[in-house]
């Protein structure tokens, strides 16, 4: 091994060590390793020259001194930059937590309701709110459910002990029950407006169901109604498919199946491809790949007759969607009752 090679080896090793320096302590230990009087690499190099040929000694000594100055300069320069990163006067530990600002959330059912509203708003629907206490006429009779109609069993009703003032606009009979659906608003609107009609009506409704994972005696519903000349069931399909794909995702498949509601004819139940298994079958969809999402149909002519519309001239459709059910599916909440506990540990998971 010749001395120049030894010098180069030290130089390369030094550059690597210098590059690894982070703290002032690191820097000192590198200085000690290379320039230390007794143990330093440069001092060892000087010592080793004693064994070199006399003719070579001056050149070698010169080269060793150049190396020493070089290392010293590099260490000094690195030291200057280390000083630059030291904490300035008045500095703080930025990793400490900031002050918590109060931050409230909207209720998940409100979030879903507003999403549904905004999709229908873009399709030109007006958003209406109706009273929760209703009279029998608006909740049942005008919707083709006369007294003693068996379909009333499907909607077990809470009745008031005494009638109370009705909540609707204009002359309205005293309220005698808690509405079982928001459909009463359809009637109220049609009673006071001529077609075309394009409305949705969200709100809380009540059914005398014993609470369990999927039932709550109070829940939120949104009802839609579209009436005009030449409105068809194909329009109903088109509108609901657009809505469901906008709400869930563009790949959602939608299935319409015959059903029965007293206020629509023909009636349909609408299913979407299961959001949990994407249609392959799971426990939630009972291995069918489909989830029931809403009920709908063409407005029954008896309903038009009740509000004074000519059923020969006008056709229309209506649908009803359970906001709670959609929220359970969309947010994968397991128990509908959680929506009414208002537990902040649940509420605070939702966006502002």
């Amino acid at each position: 091994m010749t001395a120049p090679t030894a010098i180069d080896t030290i130089r390369v090793a030094f550059q690597a060590d210098l590059g690894a320096v982070v703290t002032a302590q690191d820097l000192q230990s590198v200085r000690d390793r290379y320039l230390g009087r007794k143990q330093g690499a440069v001092a060892a190099l000087m010592k080793s020259m004693a064994g070199a040929a006399p003719a070579d000694r001056p050149a070698l000594g010169k080269a060793a001194n150049v190396l020493k100055r070089e290392i010293d300069a590099a260490l000094t320069q690195r030291g200057d930059t280390l000083d630059d990163t030291a904490r300035p006067v008045g500095s703080v530990d930025v990793t400490l937590p900031g002050r918590a600002l109060p931050f409230g959330r909207r209720h998940p059912l409100t979030l879903i309701r507003e999403q549904v509203e905004s999709i229908f708003e873009t399709m030109g629907f007006e958003i209406l709110q109706g009273p929760q206490v209703e009279d029998d006429y608006h909740n049942f009779e005008a919707l083709n459910m006369p007294p003693d109609h068996p379909a009333r069993d499907m909607q077990d009703t809470f009745y008031l002990e005494q009638p109370m003032p009705g909540g609707g606009e204009g002359a309205t009979p005293p309220a005698t029950l808690l509405r079982t659906h928001t459909s009463g608003m359809q009637i109220r609107y049609m009673e006071s407006h001529e077609p075309p009609v394009r409305i949705i009506s969200p709100g809380l409704v009540y059914r005398r169901d014993t609470p369990d994972l999927t039932h709550s005696p109070m829940f939120m519903q949104v009802e839609g109604l579209l009436v005009g000349e030449g409105i068809t069931m194909a329009d109903l399909k088109g509108t609901l498919v657009s809505f469901l794909q906008a709400f869930f995702d563009a790949g959602t498949r939608v299935m319409f199946r015959p059903s029965f509601f007293p206020y629509t004819e023909p009636s349909a139940e609408v299913f979407i491809s299961c959001v949990f298994c994407e249609g392959t079958g799971c426990a939630v969809c009972k291995q069918t790949g489909w989830l029931e999402i809403l009920g709908c149909g063409m407005v029954h002519p008896a309903v038009f007759e009740a509000v004074g519309y000519d059923p020969e001239r006008y056709t229309g459709w209506a649908f009803g969607l359970g906001i709670d059910r959609v929220a359970l599916l969309k947010y994968r909440v397991e128990d509908i009752r959680l929506f009414y506990d208002n537990d902040l540990r649940l509420l605070e998971q939702f966006p502002h």
């Binding site: 400490l96 937590p97 002050r99 918590a100 600002l101 109060p102 409230g104 959330r105 909207r106 209720h107 409100t110 708003e121 958003i127 709110q129 929760q132 206490v133 003693d148 068996p150 379909a151 809470f158 009745y159 008031l160 002990e161 005494q162 109370m164 003032p165 909540g167 309220a175 075309p196 394009r198 809380l204 009540y206 005398r208 109070m218 939120m220 579209l226 030449g230 409105i231 068809t232 069931m233 399909k237 088109g238 509108t239 498919v241 299935m255 015959p258 029965f260 007293p262 004819e265 023909p266 009636s267 029954h300 002519p301 056709t315 009414y340 506990d341 208002n342 537990d343 902040l344 509420l347």
Partner: protein, 697 residues
């Protein structure tokens, strides 16, 4: 399945994939489901060796289709789906002469019972053969004895409920279908003694009721081991009457379930004939005498006009006319072509079992069901007039939510009904409460007269789950007998206003955090809010204020804010002793109208001048009053008054408070001089001295 196959020629089964038929049971189940008969489950059913595999279809039948509460009804649908032939079940040939009528039937109220058919059979009571019992079991009907089983079998097969009386127990051959006499009693088959009312229909012998019509038979005429002769009944009872009776008696049976949905007025004869045939087939009995049919006024069949053009008009797709008539025919309708052509019309006679079909739309649904909803196109209805904006309530509610969530309050939704006691504890008179006549429990006995009981319960729910700092609000209806249903806002707050942080300790929330939030709320509507000391049930006296809202030109007392009575809070389950502050206000006066009329004022171009006054003043004097005096005295250049310090203690006499007020002066058109500001300040000081003997410190 085997029962169904008996009644309709559909080749179902692994080997039975015929032309146009289903490939297997699952395929058939799908086809029924897609036509409105949801098949909930297909359960394999054990069969004897060598027999084709069998299964039980569990179908969901909507309330409008009582005709399909039977195997034959479903067979008819299957026949329409696969264009397969129906095979009506075998019945007793009608041989007995009309003269041979051992019983007499009178109907005293044909409105409640338009038709009553009775016939006798001599029987040997015993167990049913295995095949018959197995079919009942498959349908979840418990086999009892061969006679009762046959009546149930006929009900399941044809959909028509039947009843069998032990003829020997009846007081003679006379059957009277009549209303009950008030107070008349009957012990029904379930062993319960029941008292009847005159609006209930009974089947009586010459002496007393032997059955509650359409609901349940009497125990005294029950068919038992000693029965030698039975009276078989097949009748049509008025659906509303049956429904009322079973509601009144709280007694729902397979029979009443079918009658209240609407039985087939034409079916009784077939049902009796089928039952007598089955009795003979299984060796349980043989007919005695003729079938007696009491049918005072047979109704005319319903005929509905169906226009092909209207089908397309409603569905949005043209359905082949060649599909329409045959489908209706297979479903039991009798369509008669009225006008031919590309878009024909039919006069369709509705069979008596289709109690749900009254008008053209009902027929169109039949066509649509069998055409297939999945084949209808998806189109989008054109807008024919501009969309209407939602009412002011929507922007109002959205603004309230935005403002309050911004203040750290999370939105709650609580039930519309509450405990009576909780309702009375907060804000309302008993006479103003709206009670439910059929609450689920006492916890929901009355409609909420205020949102506070529910919201406080939600706060407590969180407080009991390790949560210290809680801010909640709710927007919703409240219900009062006097005011009706009105929109309301409630807010509740407890815990820290400023959380503990490494820079400093927690500050516990107090009343002023809540009045501050309400002030922010008002500002968000371009409104002002003021608080006046007052007292209110459920709120701590001295820490309660009436909320005055000034929105536009109107000032309204909209509600209350204060500290919740700690005794009440702990009675509702609140742990610990931290204060809870609540507010509730009527939302109706809160509108965004102020912003609708908004005109921006010029931004001030001249500097303002600030003066701090330190006053010693009566500590009972409301700050609002002092502020009012300052505004009145200072003149037009005063632009703001703010209380910046309040101190009581050493150096301040008892009954007084040292109050520091910061006054800001500015003029729109000039820079104010020191002299001008001094004059205004002096006016303020002297007004305060005169009005309240305040002293400048």
């Amino acid at each position: 399945m085997s029962w169904l196959r008996e009644l309709v020629e559909v080749p179902v089964g692994p080997a039975g994939a015929g032309a146009g038929g289903p490939t297997d049971i699952a395929d058939l189940a799908d086809a029924l489901t897609m036509r409105g008969f949801e098949v909930g489950a297909v359960e394999p059913w054990p069969t004897a060796d060598g027999d084709p595999p069998d299964a039980v279809l569990d179908l969901e039948i909507t309330t409008n289709r009582p005709d399909c509460l039977s195997v034959f009804g479903i067979a008819r649908e299957v026949g329409a789906i696969y264009a397969a032939e129906l095979r009506p079940p075998e019945v007793e040939p009608t041989v007995a002469s009309a003269a041979d009528t051992p019983i007499s039937i009178t109907i005293t109220d044909p409105a409640l019972c338009p038709r009553y058919v009775g016939a006798l059979a001599d029987v040997t009571v015993g167990p049913s053969p295995r095949w018959l019992a197995a079919r009942l079991e498959a349908a979840d009907v418990r086999p009892i004895n061969n006679i009762v089983d046959v009546t149930n079998y006929v009900m399941l097969e044809l959909g028509h409920p039947m009843h069998a009386f032990d003829y020997a127990t009846l007081a003679g051959p006379e059957i009277r279908v009549r209303r009950a006499v008030a107070g008349e009693r009957i012990r029904t088959l379930d062993g319960i003694e029941r008292t009847l009312q005159p609006d209930m229909l009974t089947i009586a012998d010459a002496e007393r009721p032997q059955a509650v019509a359409g609901v349940m038979g009497g125990a005294d005429s029950e068919v038992g081991d000693t029965t030698r002769t039975v009276l078989l009944e097949a009748a049509y009872f008025n659906p509303i009457s049956v429904r009322r009776t079973n509601k009144r008696l709280a007694l729902s049976t397979d029979a009443s379930f079918r009658f209240e949905r609407g039985a087939d007025v034409s079916a009784p004869i077939a049902a009796i004939a089928r039952a007598r045939h089955l009795l003979a087939v299984i060796g349980a009995g043989r007919p005695r005498g003729a079938v007696v049919d009491c049918f005072p006024g047979p109704p005319d069949p319903i005929v509905v006009r169906l226009r092909h053009q209207r089908i397309g008009h409603l569905l949005g797709q043209t359905v082949d006319p060649a599909f329409v008539a045959p489908t209706l025919t297979r479903l039991g309708f009798a369509p008669r072509l009225e006008t031919e052509g590309e878009s024909p019309t039919w006069q369709v006679t509705v069979p008596s079992f289709r109690v749900d079909v009254h008008r053209e739309e009902d027929l169109i649904e039949e066509v649509a069901r069998h055409h297939g909803y999945e084949r209808l196109p998806t189109t989008f209805p054109a807008l024919t007039r501009p969309a209407q904006a939602a009412g002011g309530w929507r922007a109002r509610d959205q603004t309230v939510r935005r403002l309050l969530t911004g203040c750290g309050f999370s939105e709650a939704i609580t039930y519309g009904f509450v405990e009576r006691e909780a309702a009375l504890a907060m804000h309302v008179e008993a006479s103003d409460l709206v009670a439910l006549s059929n609450p689920l429990s006492e916890k929901g006995a009355v409609l909420r007269p205020s949102l506070l009981p529910g919201l406080v319960d939600s706060l407590i729910h969180n407080r009991r789950r390790e949560r210290q700092d809680i801010r909640l609000f709710e927007l919703g209806s409240r219900f009062r007998q006097g005011a009706g249903e009105t929109p309301s806002l409630a807010v509740a707050l407890t815990g820290a206003a400023i959380a503990q942080h490494w820079t400093g300790p927690e500050r516990t929330a107090d009343l002023f955090d809540l009045t501050g939030a309400l002030t922010r709320l008002a500002e968000g509507f371009g409104a002002q809010v003021a608080f006046e000391a007052g007292t209110m049930r459920a709120l701590v006296p001295g820490r309660t204020a009436r909320i005055q809202l000034t929105c536009g030109a109107h000032t309204t007392a909209v509600g209350w804010v204060g500290q919740l009575d700690p005794t009440l809070a702990s009675r509702r389950g609140l742990p610990g002793s931290r204060d809870v502050y609540v507010a509730e206000l009527d939302l109706r006066p809160l509108t965004l109208d102020a912003f609708g009329r908004l005109r921006a004022a010029p931004v001030p171009r001249h500097p303002s001048v600030v003066r701090d006054l330190s006053l010693e003043i009566d500590d009972a004097l409301p700050a609002a009053q002092v502020r009012g005096t300052i505004w009145a005295a200072a003149g037009p250049t005063l632009v703001s008054v703010r209380e910046v310090d309040r101190y009581q203690g050493s150096g301040v006499p008892a009954g007084s408070v040292s109050l520091s007020v910061r006054l800001t002066f500015r003029a729109a058109d000039r820079t104010l001089t020191d002299a001008e500001v001094q004059t205004a300040t002096d006016e303020v000081v002297s007004a305060l001295e005169q009005a309240y003997r305040a002293k400048l410190r």
